[in-house]
């Protein structure tokens, strides 16, 4: 009986002109979005490559220079793009793309794409994630809103009942007929994406596993919607009301709640302004991490300790350049100060995430979005990860430079210049994002919420049974 219902429903859908038109439009839009996204991905990756090589060339060709000058001259760490960002662009547009690594400062990533664009960019792009997150649920609504209400309105419900039908099989047939076209569309999209990505040479490591997980996340998202739409259709008597309720649900989940959530999270756990942040850092630099122990005092004690350790009474007698040594220690001290303040930002974000997770109980869009971004390495956590890696590299670079100065220059000799080939010895900045396993376990709560939605929406279907 399930099969019969499935075939009948599918036939009805197929023969419906509006359904055909809608599906064709969705397919076209999907193709366009994948094409645009693939082009953009290649474009940005080329830029990344070029930027990386040219910046490294600039660093290598500094010529003879005092290492501390080089430290102030600085270099850049560029944020790479990963293959799955083709499917979900996440926050990449809003997060900075490069970090300036210099002495005494821990900078934030700058030059996000959005800051270079007009207000129009904030409205939304035709990207695969837009299609997957917004359009597919809309398509589900279109195909399924009158699944049960049409039986009421056509009067066929009474006839069916008098034939003695098994509710379960009937519902299953309808469910399958609604879900199958969605499943086919999604599968095709992901296969195409996979093929494109595996054919792009040496641009990031492409992991079919990650693609699979993404595919699973979206499939679950659609199953949830199918369940909800069928439930709405079964509970309302008229098609018009069913459509309006289903659409309200879509707007609420995908537009209203995320926006409201961002407002609430921002209100409850605000970030400091840029100036405030800079001022706080400055204050700590002056007064020391704990407010009582300014660097000047620490430096004094450091000098005394080192002198005592080497058993000499003057820094001139030390076997290494004390200025460099002290600069390095100073650098580490400043890094700690910055770490404290950036950590505060992280903590605020963790608290903001809790707000999002709380509101995920009202919107299946939220956990899906976060999971999708996490797997595609386009979420905020990956950005933090990259920023941390860049900072570690910066500290290592300072150590590299200061060590050279320390060991090769006499105390007080600020005219020391490092050899022109010295710079090439600095290892390149390498960054690889967390592995899929780590991502999944980090996002366990999101997966959990998604699972609850899945189970809960199936439970709702149980209520349809009593008709």
């Amino acid at each position: 009986m399930t099969r019969k219902t499935f075939f009948k429903e599918s036939k009805e859908l197929f023969r419906d002109g509006r359904v055909r038109v809608a599906m064709i439009i969705v397919v076209i839009l999907m193709c366009v979005s994948v094409w645009i996204s693939a082009r953009q991905y290649q474009n940005i990756n080329e830029q990344y490559k070029v930027a990386n090589t040219s910046e490294r060339a600039i660093w290598d060709n500094q010529g003879e220079k005092n290492p501390h000058s080089a430290a102030h001259y600085g270099t850049y760490a560029f944020k790479p793009k990963y293959p799955l960002s083709l499917v979900d662009q996440g926050v990449d547009k809003y997060a900075g793309t490069s970090i300036f690594l210099e002495a005494h400062k821990h900078n934030e990533a700058q030059f996000s794409a959005a800051s270079d664009q007009t207000g129009l960019a904030r409205f939304g792009d035709l990207t695969p994630d837009f299609m997957l997150l917004f359009m597919m649920p809309l398509l589900i609504i279109l195909l399924g809103y009158n699944s049960f209400t049409k039986e009421h309105e056509m009067g066929t419900l009474t006839l069916l009942k008098s034939q003695g039908i098994s509710s379960w099989k009937w519902i299953a047939g309808k469910w399958a007929a609604l879900f199958l076209p969605i499943l086919i569309l999604t599968t095709v999209l992901f296969i195409i994406a996979g093929l494109i990505l595996s054919n792009l040479r040496d641009f990031g490591v492409f992991d079919w596993n990650a693609l699979l997980w993404m595919y699973l996340v979206y499939t679950v998202y659609y199953i949830i919607f199918v369940n909800l739409i069928l439930f709405i259709s079964a509970k309302t008597k008229k098609s018009g009301i069913s459509l309006v309720v289903a659409l309200s649900l879509w707007i609420l989940s995908c537009l209203a709640i995320p926006k409201a959530a961002s407002n609430i999270a921002e209100d409850a756990y605000p970030y400091p302004t840029r100036q405030e942040f800079a001022a706080n850092v400055l204050k700590d630099k002056k007064q020391g991490l704990d407010g009582h122990n300014p660097w000047s005092k620490k430096a004094q004690r450091l000098k005394e300790n080192v002198l005592a350790e080497h058993g000499v009474d003057s820094v001139h007698k030390l076997p290494f350049n004390f200025d460099a040594y002290r600069m390095q220690k100073g650098e580490e001290h400043e890094a700690e100060i910055y770490f404290k303040h950036y950590n505060y930002l992280k903590e605020q974000f963790v608290k903001q995430s809790k707000v999002y997770k709380g509101l995920a109980a009202f919107s299946p869009y939220l956990p899906t979005r976060f999971m999708s971004m996490a797997i595609a390495h386009t979420d905020y956590a990956t950005h933090w990860n990259f920023a941390d890696a860049a900072e570690n590299y910066r500290i290592a670079t300072q150590k590299f430079l200061n060590k050279n100065f320390e060991q090769n220059a006499a105390y007080g000799d600020w005219s020391y210049r490092a050899d022109a080939n010295f710079w090439k010895q600095l290892p390149a900045f390498e960054y690889s994002p967390p592995q899929l396993g780590a991502v999944l376990s980090q996002n366990f709560s999101n997966l959990g919420v998604l699972g609850c939605w899945l189970v809960g929406s199936f439970a709702l279907l149980l209520f349809i049974k009593k008709m």
Binding site: F111, L126, G240, V244, A260, Y271, Y380
Partner: protein, 295 residues
């Protein structure tokens, strides 16, 4: 025909609870979004005020420092930061340059969450022409803000669609179209009148809800009458656009379901995908017109 349509349309709308439902919905949406907008603006202003106060405090300390120096006392500040030198003053005691929020800034966040609202320009360094973004969570930027502009640009057309998609098709499906069509009236004219009346009532409700919301949140729209009227004008013309689309779709003569889907498709095209064609659209203009100084 018009006076009869006027009288009975109002009766129908009241009895089918449309007017009541729309009023509540509009008040809720406008209320929540205005609250959000106000909070954001208030926070921005508070930040600027706090920063300015800090500068005042610093200035006091600087004056004390100068005083000590004049009196010849030893000071612990680094040589290059002593404020007797104008360059030192310019570098270590910068002033605040801030963008003031326009009175209507709460209506649309626009780009305001992306960029910073005040900077402390120093004499050397920091080229603000290059980068002046604010420190925010990019997730917040990604999701955007639930502000009044969002409600008007995204949600209001949906209300209009729900309110107007089946004016003709419901008569057909209800069965009363046969009787109507046998009267000496032009059906197109009849649809036009009904939709115009709905446009009129919805506009009235929108304007009323806006006024009430502003009143509740203590926004003195009377003092910024010109901006307020401009916003009302923009909203009403935007609503007129959507009602016109609904009129055309109604005339097309499809079933209620078909009309709903056509109008929804148009909504997706115009509102969600508006950036696909890079021309400057009316909707972008609406959003930016509210807040152009904060860009």
């Amino acid at each position: 025909m018009f006076s009869y349509n006027f009288k009975y349309e109002l009766k129908l709308l009241l009895r089918s609870k449309w007017i009541q439902l729309l009023s509540i919905l509009l008040l809720l949406l406008f209320g929540f979004s205005t609250y959000n907008g106000k909070e954001k603006v208030a926070k921005r202003n508070a930040d600027v005020v706090a920063a300015k106060n800090k500068v005042k405090e610093n200035d006091q300390m600087m004056l004390q420092l100068l005083d000590s120096i004049e009196k010849g006392m030893p000071v612990s500040a680094s040589r290059w930061t002593i404020p007797t030198s104008p360059m030192a003053l310019g570098n270590y005691h910068p002033r605040i340059a801030a963008v003031a929020s326009q009175p209507m800034a709460f209506v649309a966040t626009g780009q305001a969450d992306l960029f910073t609202h005040y900077v402390k320009p120093k004499v050397t360094g920091d080229d603000f022409a290059l980068n002046f973004t604010e420190m925010t969570s990019p997730v917040q930027l990604l999701f955007g803000s639930f502000d009044l502009a969002f409600v008007i640009v995204y949600l209001l057309p949906l209300l209009i669609i729900a309110f107007s998609y089946n004016v003709l098709s419901s008569e057909k499906e209800n069965g009363s179209l046969r009787l109507l069509a046998s009267q000496p009236i032009g059906i197109q004219n009849w649809v036009l009148q009904k939709l115009s009346l709905r446009f009129f009532w919805l506009s009235a409700l929108v304007i009323l809800s806006l006024c009430v919301t502003f009143l509740i949140f203590g926004i003195d729209w009377f003092s910024m009458l010109k901006s307020f009227l401009l916003i009302i004008g923009l909203i009403v013309s935007y609503m007129l656009f959507w009602f016109s689309l609904a009129f055309l779709v109604n005339l097309w003569g499809g079933s209620s379901a078909k009309n709903a889907i056509s109008l929804l498709g148009l909504w997706v095209l115009f509102v969600l995908l508006s950036t696909v064609y890079a021309k400057s659209t009316k909707y972008y203009a609406i959003s930016n017109a509210f807040t152009h100084p904060t860009n």
